[in-house]
C-alpha cells in the first residue's frame, strides 16, 4: 500500500480540516492536500502513532512527532487506517543504524564537498583557541584507542602533572571510566572547567589517584587555592547512589576542594516534566489559568531555570573567583554536558557565534558522549533512556537569547533547525551514543554533516540585532535569574501550530531589509565605479562593455526586485506565514459557516469554544 485517498487532516486547535491523499514512502509520510500543498513527515520524527476508536466520519489516526508536531488524520476506511498504522509501526522502529535516513540521504553533493563538510569543525583547533596545550595543560594519548574510557573522545586534555598512572587510577574510580578532563579553559584567569562522572566512593571508599587528579587540577591554577566540585544532582539522589557503590566526593579526603550540590533533576524527571507540559499546552480550549497552573505543576520552567542557575554558578566561580571547577552528575553526559556548555556560552563570546555554537555542541555534547541515540530514541530501545536533555539545553540557550538579544549571532531559527536534525537522523553528526561507535559506523564516510548544511545557509539563521561589539563590553553574560524572565518557548513547542504564531515576523522583515541593504551597498559601489570612469573620461571599448554590464546589474538589483528570504516553509515559526493575513479564528468561522439558519446557535457554540 503506498497511498490512501480521501484522508482528512484535522487542525489541532480548531475544528477546521482539509482533505487529501496520504502517501507513504520509505522515509517519509506525505499528505497532499487537494490544492497541492503537502505536509511531509520524516518517519524518524514520529514518536508515536495511535489509532483511536472508530467514529462516524472515519478512523482517526494521531501521530506525535519528536519535533512537537501533532497530526490528526481521519481515514475513511478502517482497513486503510490499520494498514497505515501497522506500516508506520514497522517503519518508525529501526533496529539497526543502517536503516537510518542518514545512510540513504543524498543531497546531490560530490564526494569532496561531503568530506569538506566533515572537516569544518576541528576540536584540536578549538582547544588551541582556548590556549591549550599550555604550560599547565597537555594533550594525553591515554585514550587513543578508547581503552581507558570508551565513551570519551580519543583526544583528552589533562593537567601536566597528571601522570598516566594517576589517570588510569582515577578512571577506575569513576563511573564508566569517565575521569576528570578539561572541557573549557578560561585563559584570562587560567581557570579550568573540567568534567567527569561520579566517584565510586560508596560510603567510605577512596582513591589516592583520583585525589591526586583533583589535586593536579587545583595546582594547575595559581589563582585559587581550591577547586570547586559541582555535583549537579540533588543531594538526595547523590546520597542514594552511595548505596550502589557510587556517590560523591568526601571533602575530608580531597584537599582543597569546595563541594557543592546544585540540584538539577535526573533524565526521568525531565522526561515526565516535558510530557506533562506538552499535555497541558496540547489541550484544546485551554484557559489562561489552566495554562499557568499547568506550567507551574509540570515544573519544566523550574528545571530550565535550575540548569541556567547552575551555569551561572559555574561562570561566577570561574570568571569572578578565578577558580577551576570540576562538574559532574552521575555518568557525566547529561546534566554535566548542559552545565559545562551553558557555562562556556556565558563565559566566551565565541560560542555565541554560529560557528562557535556548533563547536560547542560538537565538543561538550557529541565528542564527550552525550547518548544522542538513546536520549533521542534513534533506534528501538529502552524508553526509560529517552529524555529531552538536549532540547532542554537548546531552550536554556533560547532563554538567554531572549535576555541578551544583541549578544548572539544566531536567531532561534538555528536552535530549531538543530533540534529538528538531532531527531531527523538525516545527518551523521548526532547518530549513535559516542565517538567510538561513530567511527565504527564510518559516519564520516557514509553520511553528510549537518554543520556544513547549516553554514551554507547561515544567512537564514542570523540574528539581525546581533552586535559583534557587544562582546567587548559584555564578554561574560550575567543573566537575571528572576523567574519572570523565563518564558514558555512557544516557537519550539508549538512550532507547527500556525494559528498560535504572530502573523507577521519582525525577525523575517528585518532580515529582508538587511539583505536589501547589502544589495543597495553593492549597487552604490557599482554606480560609483561607473561615474568615476565617465568623469575621468577614460573610456575605451573594454570599459564600455564593463559599463554596460554594470548598468544592467544596477538595474537588476533595484530593491523592488528583491525576493524575500525563503525560509523553511513547512514549519510556521513566528510569522513565516506572514503573507497569510487573512487567517482567522477557525473555530468561529467553522461553526459560522456550518449551517444556514441556526447560525445563531452555532455562533454561541463557537463562542463557548473561544471562551473556555
Amino acid at each position: 500500500m503506498d497511498h490512501v485517498e480521501q484522508v482528512r487532516l484535522l487542525e489541532r486547535f480548531s475544528n477546521k480540516s482539509t482533505s487529501g491523499t496520504l502517501h507513504l514512502t520509505a522515509t517519509h509520510l506525505i499528505f497532499v492536500e487537494s490544492n497541492n500543498t503537502a505536509t511531509t513527515i520524516l518517519h524518524h520524527h514520529i514518536a508515536s502513532v495511535e489509532k483511536l476508536s472508530l467514529t462516524t466520519s472515519g478512523c482517526p489516526l494521531v501521530i506525535q512527532c519528536r519535533n512537537f508536531r501533532v497530526v490528526h488524520f481521519v481515514v475513511q476506511r478502517e482497513r486503510d487506517c490499520h494498514d497505515i498504522y501497522s506500516s508506520l509501526l514497522r517503519l518508525l522502529r529501526p533496529v539497526s543504524y543502517d536503516e537510518l535516513y542518514a545512510f540513504s540521504y543524498n543531497p546531490k553533493q560530490n564526494e569532496q564537498q561531503r568530506e569538506e563538510g566533515w572537516q569544518l569543525i576541528d576540536l584540536g583547533a578549538e582547544f588551541e583557541r582556548m590556549g591549550v596545550p599550555c604550560d599547565r595543560w597537555q594533550l594525553t594519548d591515554v585514550n587513543r584507542d578508547y581503552k581507558i574510557c570508551e565513551t570519551y573522545p580519543r583526544d583528552l586534555y589533562v593537567p601536566i602533572t597528571a601522570s598516566k598512572p594517576i589517570i588510569v587510577g582515577s578512571s577506575k574510580f569513576r563511573s564508566k571510566g569517565r575521569f576528570p578532563v578539561l572541557t573549557y579553559f578560561y585563559q584570562e584567569k587560567k581557570a579550568a572547567v573540567c568534567r567527569c562522572s561520579q566517584p565510586l566512593s560508596g560510603f567510605s571508599a577512596r582513591c589516592l589517584e583520583d585525589e591526586s587528579m583533583l589535586q593536579a587540577i587545583s595546582k594547575a591554577n595559581h589563582n585559587s587555592r581550591f577547586v570547586y566540585v559541582m555535583d549537579t544532582r540533588p543531594k538526595l539522589n547523590a546520597m542514594a547512589n552511595r548505596a550502589a557503590g557510587k556517590g560523591y566526593e568526601n571533602e575530608d579526603n580531597y584537599s582543597n576542594i569546595r563541594f557543592q550540590f546544585v540540584g538539577i533533576e535526573n533524565i526521568h524527571v525531565m522526561r515526565t516534566s516535558l510530557q506533562k507540559l506538552l499535555e497541558v499546552v496540547g489541550s484544546r480550549f485551554l484557559s489562561v489559568n489552566d495554562y499557568l497552573l499547568g506550567l507551574e505543576s509540570c515544573g519544566w520552567l523550574r528545571h530550565v531555570k535550575a540548569v541556567v542557575d547552575a551555569a551561572i554558578f559555574l561562570t561566577k566561580a570561574v570568571t569572578v573567583e578565578g577558580a577551576s571547577v570540576l562538574v559532574h552528575c552521575s555518568d557525566g553526559w547529561d546534566r554535566t554536558a548542559q552545565v559545562c556548555s551553558l557555562g562556556a556560552l556565558l563565559m566566551d563570546p565565541y560560542y555565541r557565534t554560529i560557528k562557535g555554537f556548533m563547536v560547542l555542541i560538537e565538543k561538550d555534547w557529541i565528542s564527550f558522549g552525550h547518548k544522542f541515540a538513546d536520549r533521542c530514541d534513534q533506534l528501538d530501545g529502552d524508553p526509560k533512556e529517552v529524555s529531552p536533555v538536549f532540547t532542554q539545553f537548546l531552550e536554556c540557550v533560547w532563554q538567554l537569547t531572549e535576555q541578551f538579544p544583541q549578544a548572539f549571532e544566531f536567531s532561534e531559527w538555528l536552535l530549531l533547525q538543530i533540534h529538528e536534525h538531532v531527531h531527523s537522523c538525516q545527518y551523521g553528526n548526532f547518530l549513535a551514543n559516542n565517538q567510538r561507535r561513530r567511527e565504527e559506523l564510518q559516519l564520516g564516510d557514509r553520511t553528510h554533516s549537518l554543520w556544513a548544511f547549516l553554514l551554507r545557509e547561515q544567512q537564514n539563521y542570523l540574528n539581525p540585532a546581533y552586535c559583534p561589539t557587544y562582546a567587548d563590553t559584555h564578554p561574560v553574560l550575567e543573566p537575571s535569574t528572576l523567574p519572570c524572565h523565563f518564558k514558555f518557548w512557544r516557537n519550539m513547542y508549538h512550532q507547527f501550530d500556525r494559528s498560535m504564531h504572530p502573523r507577521q515576523s519582525v525577525l523575517k522583515n528585518v532580515l529582508t531589509l538587511k539583505e536589501s541593504n547589502c544589495q543597495l551597498e553593492d549597487t552604490i559601489k557599482d554606480l560609483e565605479t561607473v561615474s568615476t570612469c565617465i568623469k575621468s573620461n577614460f573610456i575605451c571599448h573594454i570599459q564600455m562593455n564593463l559599463w554596460k554590464e554594470l548598468k544592467t546589474a544596477v538595474h537588476k538589483c533595484s530593491p523592488s526586485n528583491l525576493t524575500e528570504l525563503e525560509l523553511d516553509t513547512e514549519r510556521t515559526v513566528e510569522g513565516s506565514s506572514g503573507t497569510e493575513r487573512k487567517e482567522s479564528y477557525s473555530d468561529l468561522q467553522g461553526t459560522y459557516g456550518a449551517k444556514a439558519e441556526p447560525a445563531v446557535v452555532s455562533l454561541e457554540f463557537g463562542v463557548a469554544r473561544m471562551t473556555c
Binding site: V288, E296, G578
Partner: protein, 575 residues
Amino acid sequence: MFLCSHFILTQPVTFLVKHQQRCQEMEFAELIKTPRVDGVVLRRPFLPTVEGTLCLTGHHLILSSRQDNTEELWLLHANIDAIEKRFVGSLGTIIVKCKDLRVIQLDIPGMEECLNIASSIEVLSTLDSVSLMYPFFYRPMFQVIEDGWKSFLPEDAFKDLESMTEEWRLSDVNKDYSVCSSYPPLVAVPKDVDDDTLRKAAAFRHGGRFPVLSYYHKKNGMVMMRSGQPLTGTNGRRCKEDEKLINATLRAGKRGYIIDTRTVSVAQQAKARGGGFESEANYPQWRRIHKAIERSSILQESLIKLVEACNDQSHSMDRWLSKLEASNWQTHVKEILTTACLAAQCIDREGASVLVHGTEGTDSTLQVTSLAQIILDPACRTIQGFQALVEREWLQAGHPFQQRCSQSAYSNSKPRCEAPVFLLFLDCVWQILRQFPCSFQFSQHFLVLLFEHTYASQFGTFMGNSASERSKLNLSQKTVSLWSWVNRPQEVERLSNPLYEANCLVIWPSVAPQSLLLWEGVFLRWKRSSRCLDEAYDEMVHIIQYNNKELQNKVNNLRRQLAQLETEEPLLQTP
C-alpha cells in the same frame, strides 16, 4: 527612563523652576514644609545611585546633583501612588511608588527633613481640588503646530461617515448634556429616528446612554453600536422607542447581535437593581450573547496582584507562576480580546450589526468596541487614527478617566472607583501589535505613553470623567492637549513603528493562552533585562531603517548623476 517626563527637560530647566516657584509661592507654600534638602541619595534598581539636592515644588519632586551632564529626577506628585518611610538613626528613607509602576528610594539625612518631605509629598500627591492640578499650571515650551483640542471633532468624524452612508445623522439632542450626562453633545444615530425617540430611549437606558453609533463597517455596511443596559427591572419593562431605535439599524430581514459583556447570572442580578437585558420577546430580531468581562473593582484587584507578583524578588519559579495565575490579569486580557474578536466577527464574517453593552456602558463596553475597531479598521492602526479612536471611544464616550486612574497598583487607600480598564485595553492592543508587528504605524512606546498620561500628566486630555466635565473645566482653553504634543513631527517619529506597512485587511489575533504574553514594556519595565530588550529592538530597527532609507537615496542620486553624465558625454553614445 529616569526622567519623569523627559519632554519637560527638553526645555531650559531654570525657566521651568522659576515658573514652578511662582506657582508654589501662590498656592502650595503652606503645604511644603521643607522645600529643599541637600545630600539626598536616590536609589533605583539597576541604575547608578545619584546624590544631590532634593527640591519640592507645587507639582514636582526634583532631585538634582547640581553637576553638569548628570541625571536629574523630575517626578510629578500626581505620579506618586504611595510612599513608605523608614528610619535608621537620623537617616530617613522614603520609598516612592509611582503610578507608572516604578519604585524609587530616597535617603534623606535628618529625621525632621525626612518627615516633612514625606508629609508634603503625601498631601501634594493626593490633592482633591481639580483646579490645583498640574495641567492648569503647565505652559507648553514647544510650538503647538496643531491644537490637539481641535484635532478630533465629532463633526469631522461624521463627515467621513457621510461619505460612506446616508443612513445616519448627527443629533444634538444632548447639546446641554441633559439627556445623557456622560455623552458628548453630538452623537450619531439612525437617520429615521427623531430626537424625541432618543430622549425616550435614553430614559430606558442606564445613565441615559441610549444606543449610538460606534463604528460603521464600510466593507458591508454593518454597524456596531453601544449603550448602557436597558432598565427592564424585575417586571420586564419595555420601551417601544428603544426597540425602534435599534431596529432602525437593521437592514430588512437581517438580524443582529447584542453582546452583553456580563455573564447571564450577573445580567439577571442586575434586574433587581432596575437594570437588565433585552428579552427575546421584545427584541426578536436580535440574538443576545453573554460574555464574562469582569467589573472594575475586580480588575483593580487583579492589577494590584499582578504588580505584586512582578515585584516579588523570590527566585522560586512556582511562586511566580502561581502568583501570575492568581492575579488573573492574563485571563482578563484573553476575555476582553475574545469578546472584541467576537464582535468583529459578527460584523465582518456574519454580516450582522452589533450592539454592545455591559452595565453602565462606560468600561467593558468601550474595551470591546474600541478593540473591535482595531481589528476591523486599518485606520485605527495609524498614529492619528488611534488618537481619534481614543478620543471617540473613550474620551467622548464618557469613560471616567479621572475616577479610574486616580490610584494605581501601590495605593494603600481603599479603592473607590479605580480600575485599570484603559490599561487593559492598551494591553490588548499591545497583544495584537505583537502578533501583527508590521500592521501598526505606532510602536509600543505610544501605548506606554498613553498609559503614563492617563495616570499622571501635564496635559489636560485625560482630566475629568466626561465631555461635560471637561467642558465645565474649560480644559481646551486652560490646558494643553496631549495630542498637541504627540503630533509634532519629532514625537511622531519617536512613536513610529519603522516596520509599518499599511495593511488594509482585518487582522484576527490569536487568543490562545500561549499566544498572550505578559506586557514587559509596562510590568517588567523597571527591570534591567526588559530594558536591554527594548534597546536592542530599537537599535536594530533604527539602524536598518535608517540605512535602508539612506542607501536608497544614495542610489537614486547616483542614478540621476549618471543619467546626467550620460547625456553630457557624447563618447558614451557611440558604440
